[in-house]
């Protein structure tokens, strides 16, 4: 398996050890083809897009728009608005759709949400008064679906994380969408963690909006998207104003573009979109299903070993879950763990993972999180576990 050779950063030494990068739920590494695509753009085609006459501008526009085209077909989505990431995508949904369409109706969130799928709705609720209802997480780390059904009445929107960035749990979104739609509510999926691990078919699922980030799926920083179905798209009002999103501007007022550009104010993330498109092409030629299975196998092994070492592991690692392993030692602080692992070349994340409500529910303030992606191997996992054992021997 030569996939590791596609990722130059994996050659790196950290503190005198081979880098074992297990912080993939935070951000993934980039294959050469992605880095090269952006280089190629900057060294051959760089220009501002749209209303373009000269050759470079045409090429840049084609490159930028090609990313949109790929995203639409990859996710089987009707509309794709490029943003700077998941967070901006959800804020866009709150402002462009929520402000004008929710009309005081309640918003159903879950305790499993990332802050990026909570705070925008809290802000909306602060200014418009919409009630926020949180679906609890049960002790088995799944959403309380009865509570969801009980809270759906009169709600205008359900926001749910496709796959938890802390637990790896893949939520029953098919059922959630059914319940929401049956009750006249739309559904926004936070697919930041789901999208890198499986090919989500938005139209088949029937989701109304879906947010994701390029950097979590081998793409560059600074770009993401909000995917929306046509009906929802038509209901959205402009959010940010400026160049490219307008049709005409006079002193009296402005008219706006009618396609996705309506929501992409200013010079867009051109190089970033081109890099993302290359990342999608790269992922597209892999067998993601096979990788998912392989990585889940690794995650299960790691989880079971950690448990046998006395750790609490927060996750169940079902077939559709992602390969994230969150754990805690009874006495050794998570941050100390991470520092000691870093001294051995292992990158893991600690802290609340921007999911404080979930951690509050679990009664903890942070975990150590090891998350695996396509370039990780069982060897990485075994070395990681050896380091963990070594640390426990010396410090616990």
């Amino acid at each position: 398996m030569a996939i590791q050779n596609d990722f130059p950063i994996l050659q790196r030494q950290v503190n005198g050890h081979r880098l074992i990068y297990l912080d993939n739920a935070a951000t993934t590494q980039k294959p050469s083809v992605v880095i090269d695509a952006m280089n190629e753009y900057y060294t051959k085609h760089n220009a501002n897009v749209h209303r373009a006459v000269h050759t470079l501008a045409g090429e840049a526009t084609d490159g930028y728009e090609a990313c949109r085209t790929t995203l639409k077909s990859w996710f089987n989505a009707e509309r794709c608005i490029l943003t700077s990431g998941t967070t901006e995508a959800i804020n866009l949904a709150a402002h462009a759709w929520g402000h004008s369409q929710l009309n005081g109706r309640a918003i159903v969130l879950t305790e499993m949400e990332h802050h990026s799928d909570i705070v925008p709705w809290q802000m909306l609720s602060e200014s418009l008064g919409n009630e926020l209802r949180y679906v609890p997480v049960k002790p088995d780390l799944t959403l309380d679906m009865e509570a969801l059904e009980a809270s759906i009445e009169g709600a205008g929107l359900v926001c749910v994380v496709h796959t938890s960035n802390v637990l790896g749990v893949r939520n029953p979104i098919e059922e959630i969408i059914r319940i929401a739609h049956d009750n006249g509510a739309k559904v926004l999926l936070d697919a930041a963690q789901g999208a890198p691990h499986c090919q989500i078919n938005m139209a088949e699922l029937g989701a109304d909006m879906m947010a994701l980030s390029a950097h979590k799926m081998c793409g560059p920083t600074g770009v993401g998207c909000l995917l929306v179905n046509e009906e929802t798209f038509q209901e959205m009002q402009p959010f940010m104003g400026g160049g490219d999103m307008i049709e005409t501007v006079t002193l009296e007022g402005s008219t706006y573009q009618t396609n996705e550009h309506r929501f992409e104010a200013g010079t867009p993330r051109i190089a970033e979109a081109i890099g993302w498109n290359a990342a999608l092409a790269y992922l597209g030629q892999l067998d993601l299903k096979k990788h998912h299975k392989r990585l889940l196998g690794i995650a299960r092994h790691v989880a079971s070993e950690l448990r046998s070492l006395g750790m609490t592991v927060y996750g169940r690692h079902d077939d559709n879950d992602s390969s994230v392993v969150s754990f805690l030692h009874p006495t050794l602080h998570s941050e100390d763990f991470a520092h000691l692992l870093d001294a051995r070349g292992v990158a893991v994340r600690t802290g609340h993972h921007c999911a404080q409500p979930l951690l509050n529910r679990l009664g903890i303030s942070g975990t150590v999180r090891a998350s695996f992606y396509i370039y990780n191997t069982m060897e990485d996992a075994v070395e990681f576990l050896n380091h963990v054992r070594d640390i426990l021997e010396r410090f616990a």
């Binding site: 897009v49 749209h50 209303r51 373009a52 006459v53 050759t55 045409g58 526009t61 084609d62 728009e65």
Partner: protein, 136 residues
């Protein structure tokens, strides 16, 4: 696909030119091929949206053949209209409707037909086809 004869000729003429500048200049020359739609007949209905310049087109069906009248303040755009005129003016409606915009790529006058780069050609083509279908 099979093109009307005079379009085939035009494609060949374009393919014989290997310099982008000369090709472009030939498009300019073809601006004179349009059936003029006088500026005072330019209305919101004739307007081709999405062009940077003002561009207008009006189609009629006359005895089952297409008549196309057009004008633009850009000579290049009007030249593209000239090409479309050569392609479908006075042709049977079915032949016109079977045309796809790829011929402009074969001519090498458009590097690609992506919406952002076809300089209104695609919008113009689509509008003509739409109007034709409505007239039918």
């Amino acid at each position: 696909m099979t093109y009307p004869e005079q379009l085939v000729e035009l494609i060949e003429e374009f393919q014989a030119i290997d310099d982008q500048m000369e090709r472009l200049e030939y498009v300019f020359d073809l601006a004179s091929e349009v059936n003029e739609l006088a500026a005072d007949r330019w209305t919101d209905e004739t307007r081709i949206r999405g062009c940077q310049s003002e561009a207008h087109v009006h189609v009629d069906i006359d005895d089952s053949t297409v008549r196309i009248y057009s004008g633009a303040d850009s000579k290049l755009v009007q030249g593209l209209m000239g090409i479309l005129t050569i392609a479908i003016d006075q042709q049977p409606v079915e032949i016109a409707l079977s045309l796809t915009p790829e011929f402009a790529v074969e001519m090498g006058i458009l590097n690609s037909l992506s919406p952002s780069r076809s300089n209104g050609f695609r919008n113009m083509f689509d509008k003509v086809m739409r109007d034709l279908k409505e007239e039918e």
